[in-house]
């Protein structure tokens, strides 16, 4: 690994750190219901949208907020499903792509609305241009907007404010965050060489004289929201490994920054909304530490490469290059795999299946923890849930009924959190066990690596990441339906339970801080938070990880 490649990663992280706070402050202001400058700029446009859609700018109850979120998402899932099912008969289909098969459409509709973008189809041959730009891109905007609305409502709850209005938040997420940033970055991608066209695939004659179909299309616009919205679904089958979807180092950098942009800024938005930036900074730094550790493990594993191959005397100065694009090299490929799973995006610029066992374990662990920043909105809500658990344990240890931001954590909140905590292990381990027992023939590798393939698929679904370990014969009804269900539950169960936690906390009378209060803005709290995340995560997934990547590494 060269000094330059490490420097490049360091610079990327520095840009990310520099952007986090200003973007966070912008987000806090953008979702504030009190009049401010941002409201004055955007409100006139939004009013028109409210008028058209019949949205009244009134705060909803917590139940209503959750119901609006789930209801509107369910309806949109159904619309996406219908379009995919009948795309063959609908316009804007120059390649004449057929209707999507029902279980695959079920999977894809949930996948895109649940911000997962697990793709059991290949973009070039599975979906029409209409599907790509209308329903898929539509879902890729609405699902991160939903996540952003959720996190804002959740933070409002923790800080004792009213829930707000889901539809107002949803529209604000689109008009004030996603559309402007996506628009600008799409243009930048075009400038970097990403195609944006409605022309069908080009036909080229190769040097050998054979005819080759080169897929293209409106990729730049798709790519921008794919990364910014932590969606991750590729326009093309091989996602950001394709030169049209990630032409060079600069586009790679922009993609990484877009993936991290919102999720790394949310701690600061939260700090601002909670009235103390320090509250958010502690969480930001804790997550950054985890990210740096994960990155280091991944880089080391990929650099050292496969000991069995190294023993054969194969030159490995460039690290393990299997499955990686030469234009990115080992460092940028490994780094991308860490970021895409930390931010739960799921875009890939390298095939995770070909990472070294430990290099492949890092993305897996990122998704299992789902707290190394995490996906758009939902990731940070998950982080706050772990913060509440950390507060609960450490509050007890200083001899007080635990309180978070001045609100007591009691039986009701802990019951809801206990349910939420169960969701992730259940959705990952149980379906994986079922798949391993009933569908071993769809798994392309035997042994530990095969186990990891199945485990990865469900972890990616439950964490709404969407990246695949590949090598899985996953376009079968079993995988379509099982991952579809896992993605749906993985997304919406915790949304409802955690909104209920927020509602319950919002109703409590805040207790003023005293020297006896356990402070949540100190380095010690950061350490407790990381400890809780790692211990709960490790205890839950240790056996599965041991039988997958760790056993694979040990037996190489």
């Amino acid at each position: 690994m060269t000094v330059i490649s490490i420097l490049a990663i360091a610079v990327t992280l520095l840009i990310m750190i520099a952007l986090a706070k200003p973007v966070g402050l912008y987000l806090a202001a953008a979702f504030d219901y009190a009049p401010n400058r941002i409201n004055r700029i955007f409100s006139p446009i939004e009013r028109i949208l409210y008028k058209i859609s019949g949205v009244r700018e009134e705060s909803q109850s917590w139940k209503m907020y959750a119901l609006s979120l789930i209801g509107s998402n369910a309806i949109m899932i159904f619309i996406v499903y219908l379009v995919l099912r009948f795309q063959g008969m609908l316009p804007l289909n120059p390649a004449g792509i057929a209707n999507m098969e029902p279980t695959l459409a079920f999977n894809t509709a949930i996948s895109f609305m649940a911000n997962t973008d697990l793709q059991h189809y290949s973009g070039e041959s599975g979906v029409s241009y209409l599907s790509q730009i209308s329903v898929l891109v539509f879902a890729m905007f609405v699902s991160p907007a939903t996540g952003l609305a959720l996190v804002m409502a959740f933070i409002r709850g923790l800080t004792g404010k009213a829930a707000g209005n889901f539809f107002v938040d949803l529209i604000r997420a689109l008009t004030r965050v996603l559309l402007p940033v996506a628009f600008v970055s799409a243009l930048l991608f075009v400038f970097m060489g990403v195609p944006q066209t409605f022309e069908p695939a080009a036909t080229a004659t190769t040097i050998e004289g054979t005819q080759q179909e080169i897929a293209r299309g409106p990729i730049a616009s798709f790519l921008a929201i794919k990364e910014l919205g932590n969606n991750g679904g590729g326009f093309l089958g091989v996602n950001s490994a394709h030169p049209f979807e990630n032409p060079n180092g600069l586009s790679n950098l922009l993609q990484i920054l877009l993936m991290l942009l919102v999720t790394t800024s949310l701690p600061f938005a939260y700090g601002k909304m909670a009235g103390s930036i320090k509250q958010g900074r502690v969480l930001f730094v804790s997550m950054l530490m985890m990210l740096i550790v994960m990155t280091s493990i991944s880089l080391t594993a990929e650099h050292v490469g496969n000991p069995a191959l190294n023993a054969l005397g194969i030159q490995h100065d460039q690290g393990s290059m299997e499955g990686k694009e030469v234009r990115f090299g080992e460092a940028q490929s490994a780094f991308y795999s860490v970021i895409t799973t930390a931010a739960e995006t799921g875009a890939v610029n390298t095939m995770h299946d070909t990472l070294t066992p430990i290099g492949g374990m890092v993305p897996l662990v990122n998704m299992m923890l789902n707290t190394v920043f995490g996906g758009m909105g939902v990731g940070f809500v998950n982080v706050l849930m772990y913060a509440i658990i950390a507060v609960f344990l450490s509050g007890l240890m200083v001899g007080r009924t635990p309180e978070f931001l001045g609100r007591k954590i009691e039986g009701k909140e802990m019951k809801l959190i206990a349910v939420t905590l169960l969701v992730q292990p259940f959705l990952i381990l149980v379906p994986t066990a079922i798949a391993l027992a009933t569908n071993p023939d769809t798994i392309s590798n035997p042994g530990f690596h095969g186990l990891t393939q199945a485990l990865y698929e469900f972890t990616s679904s439950a964490a709404n990441n969407g990246s695949g370990f590949e090598g899985l014969g996953d376009a079968t009804p079993f995988w379509n339906i099982s991952t579809g269900i896992v993605m749906f539950l993985g997304r919406y169960v915790s949304m409802v339970t955690l909104l209920a936690v927020a509602g319950s906390l919002a109703a409590k009378k805040p207790i003023p801080q005293s020297s006896g209060t356990f402070r949540t803005d100190t380095a010690m709290f950061g350490a407790v938070f990381v400890g809780v995340v790692l211990i709960v995560g490790a205890l839950t997934f240790f056996p599965a990880v041991v039988l997958g990547p760790i056993a694979e590494q040990l037996t190489l």
Binding site: G399, G411, I434, I535, T540
Partner: protein, 679 residues
């Protein structure tokens, strides 16, 4: 009974025997079901028990001895947990039994409507009945003295053998059933129906019969259940994972893994911690009406304390002699002492004490044969008429001035100024005069009890604000407040003021504690989150409060707060310990499970445990014996010294978090060495 002796008796062999018996009774699944964590262990136990008799019930090939040993360890784990709970309950039961003895067969002299006295069993008395209690008789029920005055021995309830005076009217009129009248005769109006008396409530409380889970216990229990379910998912899915790899996992080994992972340590000790916490309060002679109240006391933000009796001794003591005009200080002191020679009031005695303390000489003989003039409300002076005819007086400045003038004496010009200085400082000036000459002033001061300042300092570190209530004027109140180091005070306070302060603090989201004894304290006691009534107080106060202090020591509230905190800390510390333990257990069991099929797993066997079976047994044994090892901690509670929260957290994290991570690595390794020798 001496308290230490009492405690010794509480841990007698009888109690251990009873707890041991209870441990087996509690194996009943219907009782076990109330503790989900241990219930899972019990199911595991039943499965391995079955395997002892039918080793191949699930097609396994584990040696039979392993099944038997596992079954035994699981049984022990269950018994240890039950024993902890039974032991905690046992202490209360022993106390309840001794209370019950006092209750037996009391007869009452009931006054019937005609006025005739009839002897009836105490159990027939109803609210509103009148009884007469003579010296040497037990008071048949809770009530209020309506006539007479008597000294009552309340040791049956308080453990304090010195009798207390009870009289009709005022704040000392309430009597408790089961206590004994040792002198005189009183007429009592019964205020409780049978089964509802203070003694009955006390018995049911210490017995823990009506123990309900407290809010925090419920919250923690939820977390434990959630962890248990997570591990259940982990263990149930594991055979499918290994099955894909062609590795067969044995049922008893999976059960061992499950039992090691679920939080049995805290699960087994949780109810014992709660009961022991209540019990610690009781041992402290404070009766908490619910566990919730004890828990709430750990959360207190503000404590409202009465000045008199709590913060200060309540009587004014001489602190300084202030001469006037040309008089020397020694002279002032001398005559002040003479005036107090036969004065038995606390003020009088304090003058002589101050003399001794300052090493000032006075001649006691002068007073011999003199006539003592007692303090009277009209004269507002006391003193002595000496044999040589001189009249020595001390008293309120105005009264003494008048007395001197009436004898034709002059008033020193600086007397009023010096008096004002004392008053400004919160003291009371007493003038000292001999016949027509005024010799100066005695500065009387309400003295803060020793150690109070340090206590308030501690409370500030615990994040608790103290508010002092006093009937004194604002100046005096401010001085005492400054001296004692309380954060705030209310001067010239009326009972309504206390409620107002409590409401104001509560409106800010704070939890407020207060102590009180009078009937007019009752509303405030009810309003406070933690209200501690003095046992010497009125029935109304005791009814309104959620704790009763049997020793009637208002400053005990501070210890109650510490006990409440300790209760929560013990839960938190043991939970953290329990969860942190799992890391080492994983490193013991997981490599052991797969080492045969995947020899490279040896790399994860970082403890270098001998063999797969010994590794699993060692983890399981550690998991079992850690419960009895921690019983003393659960009973006594985690050591608590007031310090800043971050230091406290740091300390507990180090001991129970980091310690919990490391201890099992050492423990399991040591057990493995022993097990290795055996198999």
């Amino acid at each position: 009974m001496d308290k230490i002796e009492k405690k010794k008796k509480m841990l007698s062999g009888d109690m251990l025997g009873a707890a041991l018996r209870e441990s087996f009774v509690k194996l009943d699944p219907r009782i076990m079901m109330r503790n989900p964590v241990m219930f899972v262990v019990e199911i595991g136990f039943l499965v391995t028990l079955l395997l002892c008799f039918v080793p191949d019930a699930f097609g396994g090939s584990v040696p039979r001895w392993f099944n038997i040993v596992t079954t035994l360890i699981l049984l022990l784990t269950l018994l240890f947990a039950n024993f902890a709970e039974a032991l905690a309950e046992g202490r209360g039961k022993a106390q309840a039994n001794s209370l019950k003895k006092t209750k037996q067969d009391i007869s009452a002299n009931k006054i019937s409507s005609g006025g005739a006295i009839k002897t009836v069993p105490a159990s027939e008395l109803r609210k509103g009945d009148f009884v007469v209690v003579e010296s040497g008789e037990l008071i048949p029920g809770d009530g209020e003295v309506v006539e007479g005055l008597a000294s009552v021995d309340e040791s049956a309830i308080t453990g304090e053998s010195a009798p207390v005076i009870k009289e009709a009217g005022g704040d000392f009129s309430s009597v408790t059933g089961g206590t004994k009248v040792v002198s005189d005769r009183i007429k009592v109006r019964i205020s409780a129906d049978p089964g509802e008396s203070f003694l009955d409530r006390m018995i049911s409380l210490v017995e823990g019969a009506k123990r309900q889970k407290t809010p925090n216990e419920i919250a923690l229990n939820t977390v434990l259940v959630s962890l248990t379910l997570i591990f259940l998912i982990v263990v149930v899915t594991l055979p499918f994972f290994s099955g894909f790899l062609g590795i067969q996992l044995e049922i008893p080994i999976l059960i061992a893994l499950l039992v090691c992972l679920i939080p049995t340590t805290i699960g087994g000790l949780l109810s014992a911690i709660g009961i022991a916490g209540m019990d610690r309060v009781t041992q402290f002679n404070v009766l908490a009406m619910s566990g919730k109240a004890v828990e709430a006391s750990g959360d207190i933000n503000t404590i409202i304390l009465d000045k008199t009796g709590t913060i200060t001794f309540g009587n004014r003591m001489a602190s300084e002699f202030v001469p006037v005009q040309s008089v020397k200080e020694e002279e002032t002191a001398y005559w002040a002492a003479i005036s107090s020679l036969k004065d038995e009031t606390p003020e009088g005695r304090s003058v002589l004490e101050l003399m001794k303390k300052n090493g000032l000489p006075y001649d006691e003989k002068i007073g011999e044969g003199g006539t003592f003039i007692e303090f009277q409300a009209e004269t507002r002076m006391s003193g002595i008429d000496l044999v040589d005819g001189r009249h020595v007086r001390k008293g309120s400045v105005d009264a003494v001035k008048q007395w001197v003038r009436s004898q034709g004496g002059t008033i020193p010009a600086d007397l009023d100024d010096r008096g004002a200085v004392i008053a400004t400082a919160g003291g009371t000036p007493l003038a000292v005069a001999v016949d027509s000459r005024i010799y100066g002033l005695i500065h009387l001061k309400d003295t803060v009890k020793p150690g109070m300042r340090e206590r308030f300092e501690q409370m500030r570190r615990m994040g608790i604000k103290t508010i002092m209530c006093t009937g004194d004027n604002p100046l005096t109140a401010a001085t005492i407040a400054r001296e004692a180091g309380v954060d705030d005070f209310i001067a010239e306070s009326k009972p309504e003021d206390k409620i107002a302060v409590i409401r104001r603090e509560q409106a800010e989201g704070k939890l407020v504690a207060m102590t009180g004894d009078g009937t007019n304290d009752a509303p405030a006691l009810a309003q406070a989150d933690v209200g501690i009534a003095m046992n010497s107080g009125t029935v109304a106060a005791k009814e309104a409060a959620n704790m009763v202090d049997l020793d009637s020591d208002p400053s005990k509230i501070i210890e109650v707060v510490a006990i409440g905190k300790q209760l929560l800390m013990t839960r938190g510390a043991l939970t953290t310990f329990s969860i942190a333990n799992d890391v080492a257990k994983y490193f013991a069991i997981i490599p052991a499970m797969f080492m045969v099929a995947i020899p490279q797993m040896q790399a994860l066997n970082i403890m270098r445990l001998d063999s797969p079976l010994s590794a699993i047994l060692s983890a399981l044994i550690f998991n079992a014996i850690i419960i009895p090892l921690l019983i003393p901690l659960a009973m006594k509670g985690v050591a608590y010294k007031p310090m800043s929260t971050s230091r406290l957290l740091g300390k507990n994290l180090l001991i129970y978090g980091f310690g919990g991570l490391v201890a099992p690595f050492i423990g399991i390794k040591l057990i493995d060495l022993a097990v290795q020798a055996l198999i």
